[in-house]
Structure formats: structure tokens, C-alpha cells
Symmetry: C2
Subunit: 233 residues, 2 copies
Amino acid sequence: MNKINNCIKVIAFDADDTLWVNETYFRDAESQFVKLLAQYETHNKIDQELFSVEIKNLSDYGYGVKGFILSMIECALTLSNGQVSQKTIQTILSIGKEMLNKPIELIDGVEKVLQFLQKKYTLIVATKGDLLDQERKLEKSNLLKYFHHIEVMSDKKEKDYQKLIRHLEIQPSELLMIGNSLKSDVLPLIEIGASAIHVPFHTTWIHEEVSDESHSNSNYQTITNIKEVLTLF
Amino acid sequence: MNKINNCIKVIAFDADDTLWVNETYFRDAESQFVKLLAQYETHNKIDQELFSVEIKNLSDYGYGVKGFILSMIECALTLSNGQVSQKTIQTILSIGKEMLNKPIELIDGVEKVLQFLQKKYTLIVATKGDLLDQERKLEKSNLLKYFHHIEVMSDKKEKDYQKLIRHLEIQPSELLMIGNSLKSDVLPLIEIGASAIHVPFHTTWIHEEVSDESHSNSNYQTITNIKEVLTLF
């Protein structure tokens, strides 16, 4: 495995499913949603429809829990032909508030890695989602002290990382990103000349999945546990 | 009127109702909401209840359109004792999407002020609300070119501005904020030793209003039109 290059100044960590568990909570919420609408459609059809409403709404709502709740409500109205009960809509609102108030479960080994890296690098969090929700999670995580600041990004495409680099006033080669999503945390970084380490989480939202061909020649490292970061420096 | 002090390095502009019209759209949405629920309660009671649901939900949802839509849905369910029709909930979702897709109406004179100030200062946008929504508005406004970057803040209290100053790596005395809300854009800045210019907008959300006593001794300038900024430098 290659060591990390010498010119890195800033290390950016993705948050959800890199620093702490997140996707699991979305999957739980989806399961609850499927049960709530079971009288109208099959499990599979409800899953598909919710995903398609979420993707359609991304340009309006962006990423995060609030847009997810709004999409669940819209999907419930559509799938039921406007017949879904008011009580079910109330329940969907409650599922959303529960998601926003979940405790933080850190990924094993994260704090050791941050303690080690903060001695030599400027660490930041670079995450998608709702601003308040991400700030609150960072506060609850007790990891705030390791980071220079948090960048909540509306998307994680090449142009968004280019904006981040301009904002940080560094060169692409001076940025290393560590995250669980190949599509959002790794490939766009490689494209713009930055470095990336991929730490897969056991669950990936289908929207974050990429085909094998799209990254077979890429130049990044994949590790199975974030603790392995320590061996790369 | 006093001139602005010499040590300012960064000028932060509030966005909504400082650079462009915003509160007007929230008021329009509230009027539509009142009409939708007119069969259940008086105009006044609906207004009060919506405000109280919004405030209760601020800690979960933060500021911005998405939280506002969710609060309207919750309020509709509460006010109607769960009787509100599915069609009305669909309409509330549509009101929200319309809000997110409104055209940008710049406040008169804004561009001249930015053109003048960008020659000498680093300009940033410091705004509350939904990240994607604010970024999209800035892009639509064609004002992006004047700003170093946009800071979407989860709140605008003293501690939030202190965080901003640390992030900008400047002293409080080197920051000047320009905005329409005394509570959010002016008073906390004065408290932490920064400067502020108050440019009231004709409409203020009641949550942003402050009592006279709380700012009678404050040390900031109030102007009636953003163009007057030019006379202060």
C-alpha cells in the first residue's frame, strides 16, 4: 500500500458513515415507511417509488433529513392516490424528528485517527446534508475539537470540491479526502488532482453507488477500517 | 454619520432581504396557508399557531424553506384536529416548491455597492437558511462574482459569529456586517467587537424583532437604503 504524499496540508473527512453511523437510520426509516403504506403497494414498489421521488426532489430539497421527510410525505400521497390517512402523515413527521434526534454512534477507531492526524494537518469535515443537523451531530460527537471547521456542501461534485479548494486557498494536491462514498468522497477528488482514501461502510445508498467501469483505473487507496489510515502516514 | 473604521478587512452581507427580497415570499405563503385552513380557525389564530409551531421546531429544523413547509404541514394537522384533507397537504408541498423556485428580485442599488466595495475588501455572504436554497439564490442573483465565498450559518448568535471570525482568521474589529435584521445581523456583531450597518427591510419576521431597550445604547449605523453604504467609506 502506498504512503500518502508529502505535500498534503488539509485532510477533509466525510461525516455520515465515515465518522459516525447514518445510513442505517435512513434504512430504518424506509422500513417504517414501507410498513405504513403496506396496504397500498408491495414492499418493492414502495421502495422504488420513494427513491424516485427523492431523486426527483434533489434539485429542490438537496440532501439531508428534511428533504427526506418531505419526499416521504409526497410519496405517501402519490402511492395512496391521496388516500393516505392524516395519522400516517403525522407518523412520517415523527419519524423525521426522531431521525434528527438520534444519538451519535461513532465508527470504531475514528477518534484515534483524528488525534494522530491533527498534530500535523489541518482537519476539516466536508459533508452533504442539512447544515443544522450536521453541526448538531458534530457537536454531539465530541469530535469538534479536532476540526478547524465544518464545510457543509450542497453537493459533492468536482465543481463543489474546486470551490472548496479555492475557499481553503490551497492547491488540489494539498488536499486529501477520507470518506465512504466512492462517488462523492473519492472519484471527484481524483479527477481534480487531489488525493482520497476510500473507507467503505457496510451500507450504501443506491444513489451513491457507482459502476465498476467508472473507477477501475482510479488512483486512490481503499481500506476496510478507518484505523488503517494510521498505517498510511 | 460616522465613517467606517480603517481596519475593516472583511465585509459580510446578509442575503435575504438585504441583497434580495425574501420575507415577502414567506408572507405570501402564510396568506395562502391561512386561506387553506380558513374553515377550521380564524385568520389570527392560524397565524399565531403557525408561528408557534415554527418556533417550537427551530431546534429540530433550523431556518429555511424546508423547515417552514414541514411546520405548515404539522400546523395544518394540529389546527384541523387531523381532519385537513390530503389535497391541502399536497397544496402545502406545492407552495413550498414554488418558494424554492422563485425568481430573484435584487434590492435596488445592491450591485453598485458590491462593485465599489469589492475593490478594497474581501466580501462574503453570511446567511441563515437552507444551504442549497441559499447557494442557488446566490447563483441566480448573478452576484456570485463579487463574493469570496458564502457562509450559510445555522444561527446568527454571538457564538456563531465568533466561529465565523475564527474560520476567517481575522480579528473581530476587522469584520463589518451589513444586514436588515437588528437581532441577527447587527447586535451580536456589536457585542463581540465587530462593526455593523443596519439597513431595515419593510417587512420583518416577528422572530427577528427586538425590543427598543435591548439596543438603545448600541454603536452601529442605520441607513434607509443600501446605496447609502457608499457614503460611509
